[in-house]
Structures are given as structure tokens and as C-alpha cells.
């Protein structure tokens, strides 16, 4: 199986550790991973803010880069970017047609839509694994991000993966399904409401006694983590990929050891 990693512009620029974790994890599971260097951004920020026409060239570019037959699947560690491709791309095609521009855009985007998967979805549905052989000795709570939860319908998949992680204690987050308040440009345009929502999310995480709050989307984690840092919270934000990629060796140093993830072959053989 040959997979194209769609890391998203946010992860690429600000959260390279997540990308390294995905590569390590998928390689360990026997998947051949490629990172198409020409990838940029799926256009979500443009689209959601009302700049659909400006998002179109980005969507076309995405399809040019990832649509190649050489890839069996496109995998992304971002629920909202995954939802952008799966939900908004077909919609953009329809809208272009309704505007009298024919079916060109829809045809251009069609190849990438069915083969784009969010990471946890890919692991459970396509690879059929729930135990990825990870070790992570921490108390963890999981925040299901809105697009992962409602647009992609990830459901129990992330929790099943986490429960299978050795050493990990999964604790339930109160009000888990409530939005953290990020919402892209919402965080800036309605910053007071957004911040209030973020604070509530952090307080809920703290109430669980967890060391780590994990999610499958670094954009939400940036907002939650930024709020945690401001509140000097004892809980840390970690992307689920970094947990799933952890093994006894990487975990033995420190949490931020996930930054040191190496894809060396010895480590891939780590016990599970």
C-alpha cells in the first residue's frame, strides 16, 4: 500500500513533530509513505471565511498533487482538512456547476475525494488495526474535534486506538463533544466568545486529572494549548499521532521525545 501524506500547511509549518510521528507510525505498520513536496494548503481557511473562489485554485492544486494513481490513499492527521476535501470539494464542484461554469471543477476534484482519510479513520477502516503497538504511560483525555466528530463521523475510532495503547489510561472528558472555540478565523473575529469556550474546555480537561489532552487536529490543539499555556494549566496538548507513534524507547526519555522520533529500523521493532 502506497500512501500520500497530506500533512496540511499548519502541521508542516508549526507542528513537524506530528508529521514525523505519522511517518514513523505508518512505516511501522508496513505502509509505504510518500510526502509529495508540491503540496501546500487545502484551502479550508479561504473557503470557511467566504473566499470560495480563492479556494478553488488551491483545491485544483491539491488534486494535481495528490490525485496521482500511484497513491492508494491520501492520509492526513487533521480532521478539519480531511473534511475539507471530502465534504467541501464536492460542494465546490456543485456550486461551480450551479454558477454555469460546467462540471470541470467537479471532475478535476473527484479523484481525491474518496481516497482521502483522516489518520485514525485510515488506521481502523483501511488497515484494520486498533492496536498499533504503541506505549505511552500517561493519563490521557481525548477531545473529539468538531469536524472529525460531525463531518467525518470518526466516532469511537480514536478512543479504540487509544485504549489499545500500552500504559495509557484513557479518562473521559466532560462535555467532550462541545467545540473548543477555535473555528479558524472565528478565533480572531469573535475572540471573546472563542476564548471563553477555550477556557471552559481547558477547565474540563483539568477536572479529569489527565496529564495530556489529545486530539486529532493541531489547529484545535493550538487554540487549546495556547489557552492552557496562558492559564498555566498542568495539562499538555498532544496530537494523537504522537501518542500512537510512541514506543517504549521514545517514551523512556520524555514526552517531548516524540520530537525526537526516529524512523530507524531498530526502533520500529519495538515491543508491543
Amino acid at each position: 500500500m502506497r500512501v500520500a501524506l497530506f500533512l496540511t500547511c499548519v502541521n508542516d509549518t508549526l507542528y513537524p513533530d506530528t508529521g514525523r510521528a505519522v511517518v514513523k507510525l505508518l512505516t511501522r505498520l508496513g505502509v509505504e509513505v510518500d510526502f509529495p513536496m508540491a503540496q501546500t494548503c487545502c484551502g479550508q481557511a479561504h473557503y470557511n471565511t467566504g473566499y470560495r473562489h480563492q479556494a478553488e485554485p488551491l483545491a485544483r492544486h491539491f488534486s494535481d498533487v495528490f490525485g496521482a494513481d500511484a497513491y492508494d490513499a491520501i492520509v492526513t492527521p487533521s480532521g478539519s482538512c480531511g473534511a475539507m476535501v471530502r465534504e467541501a470539494y464536492p460542494r465546490m464542484g456543485e456550486r461551480a456547476r450551479a454558477e454555469g461554469r460546467g462540471g470541470g471543477l467537479a471532475r478535476h476534484l473527484a479523484p481525491v475525494v474518496p481516497k482521502t482519510y483522516e489518520l485514525t479513520e485510515f488506521l481502523v477502516d483501511v488497515l484494520g488495526v486498533t492496536d498499533v503497538g504503541a506505549y505511552y504511560p500517561h493519563k490521557v483525555t481525548y477531545h473529539p474535534t468538531c469536524h472529525g466528530l460531525r463531518s467525518l463521523g470518526l466516532g469511537e475510532r480514536p478512543a479504540r486506538l487509544l485504549r489499545a495503547v500500552k500504559g495509557l489510561e484513557l479518562v473521559e472528558l466532560p462535555g467532550a463533544e462541545e467545540c473548543c472555540g477555535f473555528g479558524g478565523t472565528f478565533a480572531v473575529k469573535n475572540s471573546d466568545v472563542s476564548a471563553a469556550m477555550g477556557v471552559d474546555k481547558v477547565r474540563h480537561a483539568e477536572s479529569t486529572g489527565a496529564d495530556v489532552l489529545c486530539a486529532a487536529d493541531n489547529s484545535c490543539l493550538a487554540h487549546i494549548g495556547g489557552t492552557m499555556a496562558r492559564l498555566r494549566s498542568g495539562v499538555r496538548p498532544v496530537h494523537i499521532a504522537e501518542i500512537l507513534a510512541s514506543t517504549e524507547i521514545s517514551a523512556s526519555t520524555s514526552i517531548s521525545a516524540s520530537a525526537e522520533i526516529s524512523a530507524s529500523t531498530d526502533e520500529e521493532e519495538s515491543p508491543s
Binding site: 467566504g50 468538531c146 469556550m197
Partner: protein, 495 residues
């Protein structure tokens, strides 16, 4: 009701800022919405065929909207056949004029009203007051809002933002000047408050010769009006007066009696979490020696057919005003209903008001952004209105302009003011993202200068750093690491 006007409302973010800082308001809202939310989930879970009911409700509404002209004409015929009179009102002004002249023709100067959002939407009470006619709200929550010289902040529970203590104070202070005063030594126990309202209202019901109502549904087949409510005050208002005037939005029509089967299940469960509404009142024209002897139906357009012309936005007209979307909305919970500057607050208000009123005013242009697009509203909506989809669609209208229908004419909107910088930034980002090389250059620059990055951002970014720390820029973007190590295969240790 001087506070009844929504004109000149500040944009949503400013209005919301005040509400976020009001801890009593937030506590009232949180408590109320969470209670209803949890009960709704249980009531909905009881029905095994909820998904089918939702789909059926959506289809009936869509079908009716697609053939709205046909069903409205049928409705008119049926109402007239049953002894009623139908008036068509293109906008608020016309509707107010019709109602005022109907009331004047009776020689009365007082009317009782049962909760009607349509009359709130058109500002009927104020228009009647200008003609020397006093309108008494009889729905308990509406009464609280009216006595408090306040505005409704929730579709179903207009006084949701008030707690019991506040209500007691309002009753004690204001009831006397509207009719029967509150009893001496009134406490804030729910029973006593309800009893005080009951006595106050009973006098009004027994005296009133004219009633004004809205309707939840209108059946084209038979000309029947349907009002569902919990208190029974509505029924008094509908049956005791001699003249009944119903002001109803054109989108409330359903083709046949049979269609009610769907909505009489989905509406109560979605709104009050009840299996059935305690009071479901239905009336068809007039009947000799029973109920009002004159019935008038004022069919209100007021932006609805313009909304219907919009392919994406028209789904907002499916709304049956259950308020489930308000109760699950984390933004509504914190900002409160008043911040939306309209009789329709919450997620549905954010998509309905800018369509009914246009996006010209500051508040209307800000409403499509009053959401984090979390999708909880779509999930609960019993007629499956994809509110996030419409929000994004309306954002496009605000920032890009484009063709819309206003007063029946196709017009081209200019983008709303104040988005020029954002548009430029989006364009620049678009150009950069279209060229991987440019993106990479930007990433490298950010990495090189990362030790110099400030803790707070200038410009609009300040809103981020006011409440949150910024993520640290890593030493090396992923793509550089990938290129250097081929995903870790050429250089053993990532760094």
C-alpha cells in the same frame, strides 16, 4: 417596549463581548440550555425512526417551498371557504398597516396576543402603540419580556436570560401599570410567580375583544391554523375574543393535514423535550356560536420569497422554530440571544436574519461569522437545515458581494465594508499556497527568525494573543526534514 427595537445594534462581536463578561447572564443561559439540551437528547432517543422523521420533515418542507405559490393559493381558497379573510403583506409596514386597520375597525384599543415571532419580527406592538392600541403579551415568558421593557433572547423561552429573582422584581415593579398588580409579598417561588401571572392575564383574556396570534403551521388543504404551546394561555387568546387576527410567515404552510403527523412529533421533542405539546390548538375559519366570529389571516412575506430565490440559503425557510439549535450552540450559550440583534437568535438567527433583512447593516454582516462552524446545530435540527453550509455561503456574500434577490429584483451586492485587508491577505495567501516554493521560503524565514518572534501579534492577530499563547515556530518545517532525510530513511536521527 423601547428596548424592543433592534435597529442600530452593534456587530455581533461587540455585543457578545458584553454578554461574555456578564456572569449572571452566562450562568442563567448555561443552566437553562444545558437542561433542555439533555432532556431533548433523551426525548429524541426514544423514537427509533427519528432519522426518517427528520428526512420526511425536510422533504415535506422542501416540496412545499418549491411549490409555494401553488400551496398559498390553495390555502387562501380554503381559508375563505371556511369563513376567514386573507390579507397579503409584502413587508413589515404593510402587515402592520393591515393589522392596525383591522383592530381599529372593531373600535377596540386593547388586544391580547399569543406568542408570535412574526409580529415581533415586524414590530407590531410598537406600530399598534403608535395608533393608540395597546397589545398585551399573554405567553408567560413574553409577558416577562414585555414588563421588563426587554427584548426576547430565545425562540422558545424569550426570558431565558432572566432568573427567578429578576422575574419577581419585574412583576412587583411593573404589573401594576399594565393591569392587575402583583400580590403583596410575592416571593420567587415558581408557583407563586405563575399564579401572579395567571391572575394578571385572566383579567385581560376576559376583557379582550381582539386577539392576535401567530401559527406554527397552516394547512393548505383545509385552511387550518395550528398553534402548539405549553401553557394554555394561547388557547384562551385564540378562543375568547370576537375577532382573531393571525400574522403568519408564508413559509409556515404545509400541503395537507396528514403532514402534521411528522411535525407534531419532531417539534415538541426538539423544543421542550416533550412527547406531545400540552396544548395543540387548531382552528379553521369561523364557526357559528363558537370561538371568534371574525378571522383574518395576514400572510407575511418580508424577505421570505427573496430568501427562497437563493439556492443554498433557502433551506433556512424549512425552520419550524423549535430552538434546538440554540440550546446546543456553544456560541449562543456564551453570547446570549440579544447579541444576535434580531428576534431570531442563535444559529438559525445567524442565517435567517441576514437573508430576511439583507447584509447591509453592521450587525447583519457580522452574523454569518457568529459561529465556529462546529456543526452541532445541523446535527440536532429536526428538518436538517445545514446551518454551517449556509453560514459559509453568507460569509461569501459578505466578503465578495454577488447577485442576490431583494424585493423581488435581482441585484448585485458590493462586498461589505471593512473586509479589504482580509481580502488582500487571503489573496496573498492564496498566491503563496499556489506555489510550494513561496510557502517554503516563508517557513524558512519563520524558522530562522523564530527567536525574535514576539509573544503578541500586531493587528487582527492581537485578538489571538490576548487570550492564548502563540505556538512556537519549530527549528525546521516538516518538508525540510523530509527532504533532508527522506522521511528518516537516509539520516538515522530525525534532527
Amino acid at each position: 417596549m423601547s428596548g424592543g427595537t433592534f435597529v442600530g445594534m452593534p456587530a455581533f462581536p461587540e455585543a457578545a463581548r458584553e454578554a461574555v463578561g456578564d456572569t449572571t447572564l452566562r450562568a442563567n443561559l448555561r443552566h437553562a440550555t444545558r437542561t433542555i439540551r439533555d432532556k431533548r437528547a433523551k426525548a429524541v432517543a426514544e423514537l427509533a425512526d427519528w432519522a426518517e422523521l427528520r428526512e420526511a420533515g425536510k422533504r415535506v418542507k422542501d416540496h412545499t417551498l418549491r411549490h409555494l405559490d401553488h400551496y398559498l393559493v390553495r390555502l387562501e381558497e380554503s381559508v375563505v371557504r371556511a369563513g376567514g379573510t386573507v390579507h397579503w403583506a409584502a413587508d413589515a409596514e404593510e402587515a402592520n398597516r393591515v393589522v392596525a386597520s383591522l383592530v381599529k375597525a372593531t373600535g377596540e384599543t386593547e388586544v391580547v396576543k399569543v406568542k408570535s415571532m412574526a409580529t415581533q419580527e415586524i414590530g407590531l406592538n410598537e406600530a399598534l402603540a403608535a395608533e393608540g392600541i395597546r397589545a398585551y403579551e399573554t405567553d408567560l415568558a413574553e409577558l416577562i419580556v414585555q414588563l421588563g421593557d426587554d427584548r426576547p433572547s430565545h425562540i422558545l423561552v424569550p426570558a431565558i436570560h432572566r432568573n427567578r429573582g429578576e422575574i419577581r422584581d419585574i412583576f412587583e415593579r411593573e404589573m401594576g401599570s399594565w393591569g392587575r398588580p402583583a400580590p403583596e409579598g410575592l416571593t420567587d417561588s415558581p408557583g407563586e410567580l405563575a399564579e401572579a401571572a395567571r391572575r394578571h392575564l385572566r383579567e385581560k383574556f376576559l376583557r379582550a375583544k381582539v386577539g392576535i396570534s401567530g401559527a406554527n403551521f397552516m394547512v393548505a388543504e383545509t385552511g387550518t391554523m395550528v398553534v402548539v404551546e405549553s401553557e394554555g394561555n394561547g388557547r384562551m387568546c385564540l378562543t375568547l375574543p370576537e375577532t382573531l387576527i393571525s400574522v403568519v410567515g408564508v413559509e409556515k404552510v404545509v400541503p395537507a393535514w396528514r403532514d402534521l403527523e411528522i411535525f407534531l412529533q419532531t417539534l415538541p421533542r426538539s423544543s421542550t423535550a416533550e412527547r406531545m405539546n400540552p396544548y395543540t390548538s387548531m382552528w379553521t375559519g369561523t364557526t357559528d356560536e363558537d370561538g371568534p366570529s371574525a378571522f383574518h389571516l395576514v400572510l407575511l412575506d418580508n424577505g421570505r420569497t427573496d430568501t427562497l430565490a437563493d439556492e443554498v440559503g433557502r433551506q433556512a425557510l424549512r425552520c419550524i422554530r423549535c430552538s434546538a439549535c440554540l440550546n446546543v450552540c456553544p456560541v449562543y450559550e456564551r453570547a446570549g440571544g440579544h447579541a444576535y440583534g434580531s428576534v431570531y437568535p442563535g444559529p438559525i438567527g445567524a442565517i435567517l436574519s441576514p437573508q430576511l433583512r439583507g447584509t447591509r447593516s453592521e450587525i447583519d454582516a457580522s452574523l454569518p461569522y457568529a459561529s465556529s462552524l462546529c456543526g452541532a446545530c445541523y446535527e440536532v435540527c429536526p428538518v436538517a437545515i445545514d446551518i454551517p453550509e449556509v453560514l459559509v455561503h453568507l460569509r461569501e456574500r459578505v466578503v465578495q458581494g454577488g447577485a442576490v434577490t431583494r424585493h423581488g429584483n435581482r441585484v448585485t451586492l458590493k462586498p461589505a465594508k471593512g473586509h479589504a485587508a482580509e481580502r488582500a491577505a487571503m489573496r496573498a495567501a492564496g498566491l503563496a499556497f499556489a506555489r510550494p516554493g513561496v510557502l517554503r521560503l516563508g517557513q524558512r524565514l519563520a524558522s530562522r527568525t523564530r527567536r525574535l518572534h514576539p509573544r503578541t501579534l500586531p493587528g487582527p492577530g492581537r485578538a489571538w494573543s490576548a487570550a492564548r499563547e502563540l505556538p512556537k515556530v519549530p527549528a525546521e518545517p516538516f518538508r525540510d526534514w523530509w527532504q533532508r532525510t527522506r522521511g528518516g530513511t537516509t539520516e538515522g536521527n530525525g534532527k
